[in-house]
C-alpha cells in the first residue's frame, strides 16, 4: 500500500521558531502522537518507536530514522523512517519537510511531502482508510507541532508572545503518549457527515 501525501499547515509562530522544532528529530518526534526517539546511533541515525492503538489491538512499530538531507538556509529536512511491528506490519516513510514564511505576520507554513509504504496487516485491513487516517494523524501532528513551536517562540521572544495576547497564546500541550485511534475514527466520522452535508448545495 503506497500513499503519497502533500500537506501544508499554517503554524502561528515565526519561521525561526518553527525551524527549531523541525531541525531537532527528538523534538519533532515528540510531536507525533505515540512516537518517541529512544537512541541516537550517530549524527544522522536514530532509533525509535511508535505505538498505535486501534480498539483492543495495539501495534508497536520499532524502527530507524535516517536524516538524508538537512538545509539550515532553506529550513528543509529530508528523512527516511522504516519500522516493523511484531504483529506482522511494516511501514516506511520518505519525508521532506520545510518551513516557509507566510504572507501573514506572525505565521509560517509547514510543508510536508511524503511517500508512505505500508505492508502487512495494516495494509490488508486498513488499505481503504489509509489516506483519511493519515490526514487525521498528520492533523494531530501539526497541532502538536504548533504548540511546540509556540513554546519555543515564547522562550525566545517572551515580550512579543505576551503582547500578542490570548489568541496566540500557546495551547496547553496535550499529553498524548500514543496515537489514539478513537479520536481518529471520531474525526473520520465527523468528516464523513460534514462532507455529506457540504455536498448538498
Amino acid at each position: 500500500m503506497q500513499v503519497k501525501l502533500e500537506k501544508q499547515y499554517t503554524i502561528a509562530t515565526s519561521p525561526e521558531a518553527a525551524w527549531l522544532v523541525l531541525r531537532d528529530v527528538r523534538v519533532l518526534a515528540s510531536c507525533m502522537p505515540g512516537a518517541e526517539i529512544t537512541e541516537q546511533v550517530d549524527s544522522t541515525h536514530y532509533k525509535g518507536h511508535v505505538k498505535v492503538k486501534v480498539g483492543p489491538a495495539v501495534a508497536a512499530f520499532g524502527g530507524e530514522i535516517e536524516i538524508l538531507a538537512f538545509d539550515e538556509v532553506i529550513k528543509s529536512v529530508r528523512m527516511m523512517g522504516k519500522g516493523a511491528d511484531k504483529g506482522g506490519s511494516s511501514a516506511s516513510m520518505d519525508l521532506t519537510a520545510s518551513i516557509r514564511p507566510s504572507s501573514t505576520a506572525g505565521q509560517c507554513l509547514l510543508l510536508g511531502s511524503s511517500d508512505v509504504i505500508v505492508n502487512g496487516k495494516f495494509a490488508q485491513f486498513g488499505g481503504r482508510m489509509m489516506t483519511s487516517v493519515s490526514d487525521m494523524i498528520l492533523g494531530q501532528f501539526a497541532d502538536n507541532f504548533a504548540v511546540k513551536a509556540s513554546e519555543f517562540y515564547a522562550q525566545t521572544n517572551p515580550d512579543l508572545a505576551h503582547a500578542a495576547g490570548a489568541n496566540t497564546a500557546p495551547k496547553k500541550s496535550k499529553a498524548q503518549t500514543e496515537l489514539n485511534a478513537f479520536s481518529i475514527l471520531w474525526g473520520l466520522i465527523k468528516g464523513f457527515f460534514s462532507g455529506l452535508v457540504g455536498s448538498k448545495k
Partner: protein, 800 residues
Amino acid sequence: MNAPLKDRQAALQGMGESRLRKEDARFIQGKGNYVDDIKMPGMLFMDIVRAPVAHARIKKINKEAALAIPGVHAVLTADDLKPLKLHWMPTLAGDVQAVLADEKVHFQMQEVAIVIADDRYIAADAVEAVVVEYDELPAVIDPFKALEQDAPILREDLAGKTEGAHGKRYHHNHIFTWDSGDKEKADAAFSAAQVTVEQKMFYQRVHPCPLETCGCVASFDPIRGELTTYITSQAPHVVRTVVSMLSGIPESKVRIISPDIGGGFGNKVGIYPGYVCAIVASIVLGRPVKWIEDRIENLSSTAFARDYHMTGELAATNEGKITGLRVNVIADHGAFDSCADPTKFPAGMFHIVSGSYDIPAAYCRVDGVYTNKAPGGVAYRCSFRVTEAVYLIERMVDVLAQKLNIDKAEIRRKNFIRKEQFPYTSAFGFEYDSGDYHTALDKVLNAVDYKGLRKEQAATRANPNSPTLMGIGLVSFTEVVGAGPSKICDILGVGMFDSCEIRVHPTGSAIARMGTITQGQGHQTTYAQIIATELGLPSEVIQVEEGDTSTAPYGLGTYGSRSTPVAGAAIALASRKIHAKAKKIAAHLLEVSENDLEWEIDRFKLKGDDSKFKTMKDIAWAAYHQPPAGMEPGLEAVHYYDPPNFTYPFGIYLCVVDIDKATGETKVRRFYALDDCGTRINPMIIDGQIHGGLTEGYAVAMGQQLTFDAQGNIQGNTLMDYFLPTAVETPKWETDFTVTPSPHHPLGAKGVAESPHVGSIPTFTSAVVDAFAHLGVTHMNMPHNAYRVWQQLQASGVTS
C-alpha cells in the same frame, strides 16, 4: 402401473423421487462431525507464522522467545524440514511448492514457520513471539509485468530451467504454454471472414470461501508406525498416496479420513503446507496435532480460482454464422503452480471454449505466469477452467450479436450444434455426447415472454424519466464434466476412475462404500436411491459411507461434477454385478432357468406368473444361507468405473436486471434457469444444488474479488470485504429442466451441481452489459458491484 406395483416402487424411494436428505437430521441438530470436532487424547495445536510481505529474503528467524513460552513444544522452519527433504513438496500441476518459505518469501501470508503448543491460544501467542527479519524485494503483482524482460526473477529455485512440466519456458516467470485446436485453420477463417470482433476481458481472482475452512488432525503412532489423519479433503485417497510418497510411510499404514465437510467448491482439493506441517509435527512429537485455518488464512493462502486475462475473437458471416474462434489467455497462477487439474491439462478443460456452437475452426492458447500471489487456480464449483471458457464464449457471442445488430437469442439459435449432429466432435476434439439446445432455448424464451421483455426494454430506453436501465442477459452453456477417461485424465499418474463397493447383508440391508466424498451434495441420499432402484432394496436400509481410505475403495474424490457421472456409474455397475448373481440364486430357489425370470421393481418373478417370485430380501438371506452348489456365498461387488467419455450437461439461463441510474445498484428482477443434466436422480436435491450454484454465481459476478495493492498486500481477505451473499442479497431463482440422457452413462445421468455456477456468471454480465448496450458498451469486467456500475454510468453519460 397398477396400484400395488406403484406402492412397491414408492416404498423403495429410488431414482426420480424427491427423497429428503438423510444428512440433514444431524446437520440441523448440530450433530455433524467436522475435522474441528475431532478431539484426541494428548492432542497439540499448530499455528502458522506467515509472511507480512509478498516478496522478500528471509535474513533470520529467531525462535527463542517463542520457545520460552510455557506450553510451546516446537517451532519449526524450512531449515528443520530440510533434513527430512520436506521443506518443498510436489504440486498436482508438476511444479514444487515451499512447505515453509525456504530462504525466500514468494507471497504475502506464505507459511514461514510453525508453532506447536498445548492449546490454540498459546500457539497464537507463540506465533507473535517468533521474530523474522526480512529483506524486502520488489513484488510482481501484474502477470503482464512479470513477463517483461527485466522483471525480477520470482522462482530462483527454477533459475536456468527452460523446460517445465508442460514444455518450454520462454521467460523466467513463465510456467507453461498450452494450446489446442488448429491455429492455421483458425487464422484462415479470420482472413476470409466477412466480419470479426475482438474483446479483452479479465476474469478476476476469486476464492471459493467454503463455510468450513481447511484443517486437519494428524496422529502418528510411533509404536505401530501408523499415521491417521482427519482432513478437510475432497480427495482423501489422493492425499493418502501423496502423504505416503512424501513421508515414506507405506500407503497401507496411512489412513486418511474426510469426516463431514462444510463445503469444498474446489478449495479442498489441493494438499496444503498446513497439512504437511501438522503431519510432520505429529511424527516428530509422537502426539496428535490439530491445525485449523482461520478465515483470513483461508482467503489469503489456500487455493484461489480464476485470475484469467482473456482475449477472445470471433470470425463470422454478415448473417451471424460463426466461422472461427481464437482465444488468448494470460493465466496468473501465483507463486507456485499448484493448479488442481488432470495432470496433462495445465489449463484444465478450457478448450470447451467453443461452447454450444458449431464452430468449424478454433484455436486457443493459455500462458501460465508466476506472480507474487498465493498459489491455486482451482475449479471453484466447476469442472477445471470450464467457468472461464463458458464466460469467454458467451461474452463473445453477445459482442458479435451487438456488432451485427442481431438479437442474442437469434444468434445463438443460428449457431447451436443441432440435435441431429450429436455425438458431435468440436474443433478442439471433445466428443459432445448429447444435447438439444433449440428445444431448451425455446422453452425458456416462452416461459419468460422474451419478446415482451424486449418491448418493455425498448420503452424504458425511450423514456428519459426512467430511474433505471433495464438489461436482459441470456446464456446457453455447455459444460464438460465427469473427469474422466483415464487414457487422457490422471492425477499424478493415477487414472481418474471412481469406485463403489456394495455389500448386501443377510437380512436385506446394504452398505455402499465409495471413492468419492460428499461436501454437501447429499451423496448419502442420492447414492442410496440408485442402489434402491438397481437392487430393489428400500433406500432407507442402504448405508452410504465415504471418506475413510481404510474402508472405501480407491477413488479420485468429489470435484468437477464427477460424482454422478463417474461414481454414480460405478454404483450402477456394482449393483448390476450383484443383480446378476441374485438372478442365479433366484433361479436356484425357484428351481427354474434364469431365462424364465424377469425383474420387477424389487423381485425376480417367473415370467407371466405373479405368484412365483423371490424378493431381493429373500435372495440376500439365501446368498448367506444356502447358495447354489458351486457358488461363492455372500452378495457383494466392487466396481471401478473408467468413463469412456466426459458428460456434457447444458442449460439456458435468462436474467433481467434493473440498474439504478443514480446509485449503480443492480437489482436482479428475474432469473430463469433451465438445466439439462440428463437423467434426474433426486429432483429436490437437483433444485437445491441449482439454487446453491446460482447463489455462488451471483456472488462471483456481483461482488467477489481478491485484489492486491502494488506491494502485493492482499486487500479484502475478511468477510467484511469478501462478498458472501446471504438470504438478504440473494435473488429469487426460477428453475426448469429438460432431460437429454447421456448415451454412454449407465444411468444416462450427466452431473449438475456446477452447471448453475458456470452458467449464471456470464448471464449476470450479459444482463448488466445489455443495460448499457444501446450506449455502445460491449463488455464490463466483473464484479458488477454498485461502485463499478456507477463508474460505467458516469462514463456513459447516464444521469438520473
